[in-house]
Amino acid sequence: MSITVERIWWRPLDREEKIWVTIALIWCLGTFFMMPVWHVIAKQNTPNESYKVSVDDFEKIVIAFNEKYKVREESGVPVVHPPAGSDIYLAGTGIWQWSSILELEAGKEYRLHISSIKGGGDVAWQHGFSIVSAKFNANFMIVPGYDYVLKVTPTEAGEYGLICNEFCGIGHHLMAGKIIVKG
C-alpha cells in the first residue's frame, strides 16, 4: 500500500467534479433558504416567543387557569374550555400527567404556553409535548423554567392525543392525555 501523497495535489477539478459540486451547492443553498422562506410563506413554523419563568410561578398560573375555565372533569383531570383567542396554559407535571385536558375551538388562534411544573410531585421534569392524531403529529420541548408560547390554530375538530415523548423518569410511558377540538 502506498501512503505517499503527490508533491502537488492542488489542481483544478475535473469536469464531472465541477458539475457535481455545483449541483450540490445549489441544492444545499436551496434547502438553507427554504427555512426563512417557509417562515414567510407557510403557517407551520417553530414559534419564536419564549420567556423565563420560575416553576412555582408557572404552577400558580396553571392552577388559576384551570380553576377559571374548568367545565368538567374526566378521571380526575380538569377539562378546561378557555375563550377563543386567549392565553392558555398547559404543563407537564412531576407525577407524569398533563395539567388539564384543553377544549379548544377549531379555526381560532390561541396563545398556548407550555412548561413544566411539580404538580404534586417533587421535581419539574423536562417533557416532550407531542400532539398525535391519525393525520399528523407535532412535537415541542417542555423545559422547566421556560415558557414556550405556541400561537396555535387547531384546524379540524376532533379528539387529539397528547403524549410525552421525552424520557422524563419512570412514569414516562403513562404520560398520555388529550386535547379536544370542537367544530
Binding site: 500500500m1 501523497v5 467534479e17 459540486v21 434547502t31 438553507f32 400527567q97 403529529n137 398520555a176
Partner: protein, 502 residues
C-alpha cells in the same frame, strides 16, 4: 529505537510495537463494548416489538441507557482511538511518542466505562443517554463519563503529539495522507466535543453530589448536544477517512482530487459541529435565527462536504476499476467490484447506507420546521441508526478485516462468517432504520416502553399501520443482530484462536 519496530511482510508498513499494543487493547475494548451494547440492543429490540414486549419498564430504561452509552460513546471512541494511533504511526512510519500516556488514557477510559455501566445496570442512573436535568443519576455515573472523556482527550492529545513528532522526524514527505488528514479533522471535532462535555458534566457531577444547587435545563441542553450530537460528527469524519482507506486497500484506488477531498474535510471541521442544534429546534429560549444558521451547518456547507465525499469515494473506485478493464457500460466496474471481500462490501454498503438512509433524513429532519413533525419521534432514532450504525459501525467493522491480520497478526477465523456479516448487518439495519422512520411518521415516540399506553389514564391508539412498522423494525433488528453477532464472534475468534501470521 529500531528494535521497537517491525515491518509487515505483506504491506511493507513499519509498525511501532508499543503503538501496536495500544491499538490492540483499544480495539479489543471497543469490541467488548460492542458486545455489551449489542446484547442490550437485542433485549431493547424485543421489548419495543409490541408482540413480544420482553423487559419490564425498569430494565428497559436501564438497558436503553446502557445501549446508547456503550455504543455511541464507548464502542466508537475506543475504536477511534485505535484508529488515531494507527493513522498517526503505522500510516506515517512513525512512533507513538509516549506509550505510557497512551496507557493512562486507556485506563481512564476503561475505569470511566466501568463506572458508567455499573451505575446504569444497578439502577442508579436510569436517566437515558441524555440525562436531562433534573433527572439525576448517582455522582459516580457523571464521574465515569468525565473520566472517560478525560481519557479520550488524553488519547487525542497523544495523537496530535505523534503528528508533531512525525513531522519533526520527517517520517513522511509532503502533506499528510488523506486518511490521516481525515483522522486529524475527526480529532479536532472530538476536542470541541469533549471540551463541551467537560463544561457541563463537571457542574452536573457537582450538582448530583449536592454541591451545586441548580443546573439550568436549557443551558444543559445546549451544552449536552455539543457533546451528544457532535460526538457523532467525530464518527462521520472518521468513517469517511476509513472509506478512503478501505477504497485504497481493496481496489487500489486513489483520491481523484485531493484538493476537493481535503476541502470537504475542512468544511466538516468548520461547520459540522454546529448541527448539534438539530436537537434544539423545537426548544424555547433559542431564536429562529440561531436555529436556522446552526441546524443548517451554516448554509449546509457540511452537507456539501458529505455530498463531495459521497461522490469522491465511489468515483475513485470507479476509476481504479475501469483501469483494470471493467469498462463495459455504466456499472460493470461496480458489478465486478470485490463484493466477496468483507471490507469492500462493508465500506460500500456503509457509503450507500449513510448517504441514502442516514444522510438524507438527517438533513431533512434537521430542517427547522420539519423538526416539528419529527422531533423525538422514532424517526430520529431511525435516522441516527442510519448514520451511526449503517454508516460508522459498518465501516469500522470493515476495516477490522485488515486490522486483525496487520496488527494482531492473525488470520480471520472464518472467511464465510466475514463474507456474510456485512450483508446481514447492512441489510438488517437498512430495514430496521427505515421501518423506524416510517413508524415515527405516525408519531411513535422514541425512548418509550409501551406505545400501547396500557394502564395510562387516556391511552392513545396509534394507527394500526404503525404497528406493522414496529414489527418490521423488530425483524430488521434481528437480522442486524445476526450480522453483528457474526462480526463479534468472528473477530474475537480471530484474535484469540485465529491462525498466527509470521
Amino acid at each position: 529505537m529500531a528494535e521497537q519496530f517491525r515491518t509487515c511482510p505483506t504491506t511493507g508498513l513499519k509498525v511501532h510495537l508499543p503503538a501496536e499494543t495500544l491499538i490492540k487493547v483499544n480495539a479489543v475494548a471497543a469490541v467488548v463494548c460492542l458486545l455489551v451494547g449489542g446484547l442490550a440492543a437485542l433485549l431493547i429490540l424485543l421489548t419495543r416489538w409490541p408482540a413480544i414486549h420482553l423487559l419490564d419498564e425498569e430494565w428497559f430504561y436501564r438497558l436503553l441507557t446502557a445501549h446508547a452509552l456503550d455504543m455511541l460513546i464507548a464502542w466508537i471512541i475506543f475504536f477511534e482511538v485505535a484508529g488515531l494511533y494507527f493513522g498517526s504511526t503505522v500510516l506515517l512510519n512513525n512512533r507513538l511518542p509516549a506509550p505510557k500516556v497512551g496507557w493512562v488514557a486507556f485506563i481512564l477510559m476503561v475505569v470511566g466505562g466501568a463506572f458508567i455501566n455499573y451505575t446504569v445496570l444497578v439502577g442508579q442512573a436510569t436517566v437515558a443517554f441524555t440525562s436531562y436535568v433534573p433527572l439525576k443519576a448517582s455522582p459516580l455515573y457523571y464521574l465515569g463519563i468525565i473520566l472517560f472523556a478525560v481519557g479520550a482527550l488524553t488519547a487525542i492529545g497523544h495523537f496530535f503529539a505523534a503528528l508533531v513528532v512525525a513531522k519533526k522526524e520527517k517520517t513522511y514527505e509532503g502533506s499528510l495522507p488523506i486518511v490521516t488528514f481525515g483522522l486529524m479533522c475527526a480529532a479536532t471535532i472530538a476536542v470541541f466535543t469533549l471540551l463541551h462535555g467537560a463544561a457541563f458534566y463537571i457542574p452536573t457531577f457537582l450538582w448530583s453530589a449536592g454541591i451545586l444547587p441548580h443546573i439550568d435545563p436549557e443551558m444543559y441542553r445546549l451544552a449536552f448536544w455539543a457533546l451528544g450530537h457532535a460526538s457523532q460528527q467525530i464518527n462521520v469524519c472518521a468513517m469517511v477517512a476509513v472509506w478512503y482507506l478501505i477504497a485504497t486497500l481493496t481496489t487500489g484506488a486513489k483520491p481523484l482530487n485531493e484538493k476537493l477531498c481535503r476541502t470537504a474535510f475542512l468544511l466538516y471541521v468548520l461547520f459540522i459541529n454546529v448541527a448539534s442544534e438539530h436537537h434544539l429546534l423545537v426548544d424555547p429560549a433559542l431564536s429562529i435565527w440561531h436555529k436556522i444558521v446552526n441546524t443548517s451547518y451554516v448554509m449546509h456547507l457540511a452537507v456539501l462536504a458529505s455530498m463531495i465525499h459521497a461522490f469522491a469515494v465511489p468515483a475513485m473506485i470507479e476509476v481504479a476499476q475501469r483501469k483494470k478493464g471493467f469498462t463495459k457500460g455504466l456499472f460493470e466496474w461496480l458489478k465486478k467490484a470485490p463484493w466477496g471481500n468483507p471490507a469492500f462490501a462493508s465500506m460500500f454498503i456503509s457509503l450507500m447506507g449513510f448517504g441514502f438512509v442516514g444522510g438524507i433524513t438527517g438533513v431533512t429532519f434537521g430542517t427547522e420546521q420539519i423538526s416539528i413533525i419529527r422531533h423525538n419521534t422514532w424517526s430520529i432514532t431511525g435516522h441516527f441508526h442510519g448514520t451511526v450504525v449503517l454508516g460508522t459501525t459498518l465501516a469500522f467493522m470493515g476495516i477490522t478485516y485488515y486490522i486483525v491480520p496487520l496488527i494482531f497478526r492473525r488470520q480471520i477465523f472464518s472467511e464465510t462468517m466475514a463474507k456474510l456479516s456485512p450483508y446481514f448487518f447492512g441489510g438488517g439495519v437498512f430495514i430496521f432504520a427505515n421501518a423506524m422512520m416510517f413508524a415515527g411518521g405516525y408519531g411513535i415516540p422514541r425512548r418509550h416502553w409501551d406505545v400501547t399506553f396500557a394502564g395510562a389514564q387516556f391511552p392513545f391508539q396509534f394507527d394500526p399501520t404503525a404497528f406493522f412498522f414496529l414489527a418490521l423494525t423488530g425483524l430488521g433488528g434481528l437480522l442486524a443482530i445476526i450480522g453483528g453477532a457474526l462480526y463479534v464472534l468472528n473477530t474475537v475468534a480471530s484474535v484469540f484462536i485465529g491462525k498466527k501470521i509470521q
